[in-house]
Symmetry: C2
């Protein structure tokens, strides 16, 4: 593998590791456990899981990899606070989570180093010319941190 | 910048962003606020901050960049659970946090793409030959996720 390929391999492994540990945490939870709060007065587990699912789904257009698969998740888990609108069940969410992450993984795996360095869709050509770090790879790393951020919160709900 | 340089630039920016937002969160807190728990029965804020400081310090030998600056932090924030041993003050911790992160940043900034792909110090030559992803870059990305993980937890202590 070239230097470039190895650097991307590390980033994809870190993405996958965060997806997998998050999946392993949420998947075995019952519907009852999923509506528990991570801490008193804080978001419920289902909200964190749905939030990660919706934000990952939004990576498809942001990275120029296709249309969103489930934009309907935003009203439940992004634009409205927890408990303000009805959400889908954990079983239904797990199906979408798997579908979205599977699609992302297939598309991620096909990108070369120069593909990863192309601009993302929320930056203009002019701004990108001045700020070449506003590329897809930076988004991938940022969204990996985003998963870890909320996974850390979800883990607080354990052993209560 | 070359493809390789741009990929590393993205990773360093993501590291720095996570250090900076964590710093901005903890630095203004009073000693009294720092000994508050992030959620009832969970670790105190000072413990999370000290834990991140100690784990970042351990990156120096792990990445082959030098000796640890403050190995004494481990007994307070890594090997023993919170509240089992006395810890240093927030003011003292902030000084070490800045020293360690400043040192890491200087050393990180001097590494090339091929430097980042060298093995880290906890993997043998034989294992590394089979598993070239066990390199410094993978460690950098993993430790960035580690910061985000605990920063997400610390943020739960806000607005209580």
């Amino acid at each position: 593998m070239t230097t470039e390929t190895l650097l991307i391999d590390s980033a994809l492994r870190n993405w996958k590791l965060n997806i997998d540990r998050t999946d392993k945490f949420f998947t075995p939870l019952s519907e009852q456990q999923l509506v528990e709060e991570i801490a008193p007065g804080k978001n419920r587990l289902i909200y964190l899981w749905g939030h990660l699912t919706a934000v990952n789904d939004a990576l498809l257009p942001l990275l120029g990899l296709g249309e969103r698969l489930h934009p309907e998740l935003d009203a439940m888990f992004v634009t409205n606070p927890d408990r303000s609108v009805a959400t889908i069940s954990g079983v239904a969410l797990k199906r979408l989570w798997d579908e979205i992450n599977g699609t992302l993984w297939t598309k991620f795996s096909a990108l070369s180093g120069s593909d990863w360095l192309k601009k993302h869709s929320s930056v203009s050509e002019e701004d990108f010319a001045r700020e070449p770090h506003r590329n897809r790879f930076t988004i991938l790393l940022g969204r990996t941190s985003h998963i870890a951020y909320h996974f850390g919160q979800a883990k607080l709900a354990e052993r209560r």
